[in-house]
């Protein structure tokens, strides 16, 4: 163990970098959110005007509600789809095939994530695979578009998060000793009861970690809703980007970004407390 001065010396470059390019930008952004844009000029007078605007203009507030709704739907659907798959992989697939099965599940996500949303456009848009398939089956008489709406956004998100949640739940499931289930059976519980009262509660941490990751990554994503969701219904990241690209209104965009950050932090606090109780 050397002196602590040398330790700080080793830490210094990383600390400086994080200060300069992470902490300082956040402080500047927080400051901007209290400033106003008047015409093309920036008014550096501290006020909560941008935040008031957020709650007053239904257009801004609605985009947060849309984001929360989409994120909630995505999280629930992903958990419901992923849990059985993780369970099958952990319990029914022989151990030597598990690694391959997991690698296969991850494989499609090694495209660029811009391309991933685009690929769903190939499936969902008018004349695409799905529309063509239904046409061939005779279900529809004309090509139908499934893109440019909330459903398409949800499908694009669920696609990625099913994979992610499968991984977190699987990691949780394989850690459970086989003896637990046997003990439950010895005590008279059937397979369903032992699942509901023993296995499911013990895999809640895996579900929560995955669900939290899903929430954070989903609510902050711009690409998926922008490519798949169209312009009729905007999510918060799209509203933020519009303030920047169309209007160069950095103060309003900063305030919206701060609100997004607060929402994520609140959910984090709620989840962290909940997880801790679970662990006791």
């Amino acid at each position: 163990m050397g002196g602590s001065a040398r330790g700080w010396g080793l830490l210094l470059p990383a600390l400086l970098w994080t200060c300069a390019f992470f902490a300082m930008p956040l402080v500047i952004m927080a400051l901007y959110s209290l400033w106003q844009r008047a015409g093309v000029k920036l008014v550096t007078e501290i006020s909560l005007g941008n935040y008031e605007k957020f709650f007053a203009k239904s257009y801004f507030f609605q985009s947060l509600i849309n984001s929360l709704e989409v994120t909630a739907i995505v999280t629930v659907v992903s958990v419901l789809l992923a849990y059985p798959l993780a369970y099958i992989l952990a319990e029914k697939v022989p151990a030597r095939w598990q690694r391959l099965a997991l690698l296969l599940a991850i494989l499609p996500f090694w495209t660029s994530y811009v391309v991933r949303s685009y690929s769903w456009l190939l499936v969902l848009s008018e004349g695409g695979i799905l529309s063509n398939f239904l046409l061939d089956l005779g279900v529809t008489a004309e090509p139908v578009s499934f893109a440019n709406n909330r459903g398409a956004t949800v499908v694009g998100f669920v696609h990625f998060f099913v994979m992610l949640l499968t991984l977190t739940v699987f990691a949780n499931l394989v850690q459970l000793p086989k003896s637990y289930r046997k003990a439950a059976a010895d005590l008279g519980a059937g397979p369903i009861r032992s699942f509901i009262y023993v296995i499911l509660p013990l895999t809640l941490p895996g579900i929560m970690v995955g669900a939290f990751l899903t929430f954070v990554l989903c609510i902050g994503d711009y690409i998926t809703p922008q490519i798949l969701g169209g312009n009729r219904e905007l999510l918060l990241p799209q509203t933020i980007m519009l303030q920047i690209s169309r209007r160069a209104d950095f103060p309003t965009a900063s305030a919206l970004a701060m609100i997004l950050m607060v929402v994520v932090s609140l959910v984090y606090l709620a989840c962290a407390r909940w997880l801790k109780i679970e662990r006791l």
């Binding site: 700080w8 099958i88 391309v115 685009y118 695979i129």
Partner: protein, 260 residues
């Protein structure tokens, strides 16, 4: 036979989900070989025309080069900074070490969109021109905490003892670092570098917001999307997919050989 029949619904379900997971990428790759100008059924290939178009596209090739450059440089910097920080925190008595660790990993909890906005506003305020350098700075911000966390978790007591032994035998500090610590941590260093390269390679929103004339591949693909469905986009996407899978196979092979 009875047993496998009992598992049939389970495997049917797994098959359906795998089908869902693979559907878009299968469609992407298939229609990258499309003969005509729209990547929708009927398939009228196979044709390599769109791959030829990609490789003849100067902007696309420039973006590809930029992506590789930014990924390699920013990942190297992330690993080096992360390694020094992890070593400093693991091997020296640091006052408020927990706080330092929390601060260094904090960027992992913030959306890329917010990091991107913060950087954009900061660069604008300070008059820093947008370029590949600003993209690289952003990518170090997101990858440094990752590299630091991975390397810090791998610096155990066992390595500390070997390092002390080397010191007792007269090794200088830089010799310990270079000849003992780095070789012992090689798999973790390698893994964090590859992870950083992957994240940088795929990152869109930061690269989009803090770039101007020189862009990376995801940003270039993004601007291609404005033209709607286009087999050339399929070809680029399939190409990126191929590179990523190849990178992953290399990483897996290296790490597995190391483990044996």
């Amino acid at each position: 036979m009875h047993g496998s029949l009992r598992h049939l619904p389970a495997f049917l379900y797994a098959g359906l989900i795998y089908g869902f997971i693979f559907l878009p990428v299968a469609v992407l790759v298939l229609f990258s070989f499309q003969g005509s100008r729209v990547p929708v059924p009927p398939f009228d290939g196979p044709s390599l025309a769109w791959y030829r178009a990609v490789f003849a596209d100067d902007r696309m090739m420039a973006a590809l080069g930029n992506s590789v450059l930014v990924a390699l440089v920013s990942s190297t910097l992330s690993v080096v900074l992360g390694f020094f920080a992890a070593y400093g925190l693991a091997r020296h008595r640091i006052v408020l070490g927990g706080l330092v660790q929390g601060f260094l990993t904090a960027p992992l909890t913030v959306s890329y969109l917010i990091i991107a906005m913060g950087l954009l506003i900061t660069f604008n305020t300070l008059g820093v021109p947008k370029s590949l350098i600003t993209i690289g700075i952003g990518h170090v911000v997101i990858n440094l905490p990752l590299c630091f966390a991975i390397l810090y978790s791998q610096m155990g007591a066992h390595q500390a003892q070997v390092e002390r032994a080397a010191r007792d035998l007269g090794a200088r500090e830089w010799q310990v670092l270079l000849l003992i610590t780095v070789p012992m941590l090689w798999p973790a260093l390698f893994a964090s570098f590859f992870l950083a390269v992957t994240f940088s390679w795929d990152e869109f929103i930061i690269a989009f917001m803090v770039s101007r004339f020189e862009v990376t591949l995801p940003v270039e693909i993004w601007s291609m999307l404005r033209s709607g469905l286009n087999p050339e986009t399929n070809a680029v996407g399939s190409f990126v997919f191929l590179i990523s899978v190849a990178l992953f196979v290399v990483l897996d092979m290296v790490l597995r050989r190391r483990r044996r």
